[in-house]
């Protein structure tokens, strides 16, 4: 019984100590699940307008069909889709668009020929929430984007 308590104590100490690894070693930070760095939503915002943006990517296929480009369709999580493709594309990065076309069209019979980036901005005002549609950004399948 005493030896089992010793092993359990080692296990407890190990589990607690391992939580220090992602904090102390930033290189391993993203690879140590379930021992994680628990920093979440930690940045603060100064006083100012409260705004949020809702973004989506709509794909247009060669037959003219429109289809939302979802994380499942791309095979990535929503966060990775946003960080790796959506945000760079909003900044005008055509190489991100090219890579996304390649990913999407890899096994498709009806390939995507156009990607439309649509968004709305929501702003909190004295009279409530206002919604404003933003200009659509378009990328064509091919070497050059038409923005």
């Amino acid at each position: 019984m005493r030896s089992s308590k010793t092993w359990v104590s080692i296990f407890i100490l190990l589990v607690i100590t391992l939580h220090a690894v992602p904090v102390l070693n930033p290189l391993l930070k993203k690879r140590t699940w379930p021992f994680l760095d628990w920093t979440m939503y930690s940045k603060s915002r100064p006083p100012g307008p409260i705004q949020a943006e809702k973004r989506r990517i709509i794909g247009v296929t060669s037959t003219g069909r429109k289809e939302p480009v979802t994380p499942f369709l791309v095979g990535l999580s929503p966060f990775v889709l946003r960080a790796s493709y959506e945000q760079p594309m909003w900044r005008g990065d055509s190489s991100a668009a090219r890579q996304l076309f390649m990913r999407l069209n890899l096994q498709r019979e009806d390939p995507f020929v156009e990607l439309r980036l649509e968004s709305e901005t929501y702003t909190v005002t004295d009279t409530g929430l206002t919604k404003q549609k933003n200009a659509v950004a378009t990328y064509q399948a091919g070497p050059l984007p038409s923005r």
């Binding site: 308590k5 296990f11 021992f35 920093t39 603060s44 409260i50 973004r55």
Partner: protein, 321 residues
């Protein structure tokens, strides 16, 4: 040194029955099996649409080192793993070969979650729950309310069956570990807000922006409403920092634990209904801790109301006869 070991043992290894631990096993395994069980379709999709890992978790790198991605990370291997995990889960739920089935079940869950988080993204909800699930396999979680216990008791002579439910000193540590890990993780989250965000984290604008951003992208009407309420956001910011940073007080002052667990539960429910953050695993752990880490509060309530009502019920039955 000996005093420290005594204190350590007194904290982690108090003598209790195995009943609460066994209920914990049933609740955790059942929720993992029927609520948070990995979806094969999601893993097939990841395998099919990614030729390589983006940021492989160390567990996945270790497995890939044994064989290769092409041989081990295939839909057929994952289907086999899925069913092994599911069968082990059912065995752990009913308490059959409990330690081994719990170990296999938690290992399967670890592999599935680690695989899902090997493509450039990882999240927090499953982590503490998965560790505690593994811890259960190292504890006597099958000593009560299990087929193992039933078979063992049947094998005993009648006179010895009473002795079968003795107290042990290894039945509380998994729950205490869950408590310590939650305290550690909440503290880490709260402190990161105070250090990186500073006092401005409490200005209301910060929480309004976060809540509105998540609620708009996830279409959550309550969150969209909260995102417009500045004073409420200031109050909720203070509540968030208080719960996260001072959750550990429940370790130091055990009488505060039930209040802090309820506060943390409300915090998690609030995050879910306003911003869509589904920390369901934390909620399950908090409910278990609320009832089992310091059961005196509900036992006192039960003794006061339930036990007192029994004699009067008996008396009324006697009178009616």
């Amino acid at each position: 040194m000996e005093r420290w070991i005594e204190r350590w043992n007194a904290y982690w290894f108090p003598e209790t029955t195995t009943l609460y631990l066994s209920i914990t096993r049933i609740v955790m395994v059942a929720t993992q099996l029927f609520w948070f069980f990995p979806k094969l379709e999601r893993h097939f999709n990841l395998l099919e649409k990614n030729s390589e890992f983006i940021n492989p978790q160390l567990l996945i790198s270790g497995i890939a080192a044994i064989g290769s991605r092409e041989t081990l990370f295939t839909p057929s291997t994952f289907t086999i793993l899925y069913w092994i995990t599911a069968v082990a889960g059912v065995a752990a739920l009913v308490g059959l070969v409990t330690r081994i089935s719990l170990f296999v079940f938690s290992l399967g869950i670890w592999i599935f979650v680690a695989h899902a988080y090997s493509y450039g993204d990882r999240h927090h909800p499953e982590a503490v729950f998965a560790i505690v699930l593994l811890a259960l396999s190292l504890a006597p979680a099958g000593e009560s309310l299990s087929l193992d216990a039933l078979l063992r008791r049947r094998a005993l002579p009648l006179i010895d069956r009473v002795k079968a439910s003795v107290k042990v000193d290894t039945a509380m540590w998994p729950l205490k570990l869950a408590h310590v890990l939650l305290a550690l993780t909440y503290f880490s989250t709260g402190m990161s807000k105070l250090i990186l965000g500073g006092p401005a984290w409490l200005n209301g604008y910060t929480l309004q922006n976060y809540t509105l951003g998540d609620a708009v992208s996830r279409d959550i009407p309550l969150g969209i409403w909260v995102g417009q309420q500045h004073r409420l956001a200031i109050g909720l910011s203070f509540f968030t920092i208080l719960i996260e940073t001072f959750f550990f007080v429940s370790l130091l002052l055990p009488w505060t634990a039930p209040f802090i667990f309820v506060g943390a539960l409300l915090f998690q429910i609030g995050l879910l209904v306003t911003a869509g953050h589904g920390f369901y695993q934390h909620m399950v752990l908090l409910v278990l801790l609320l009832f089992f880490i310091r059961p005196q509060w509900w036992q006192a309530w039960r003794n006061k109301y339930v036990e007192h009502s029994r004699p009067s019920l008996t008396a009324s039955l006697i009178r009616s006869e």
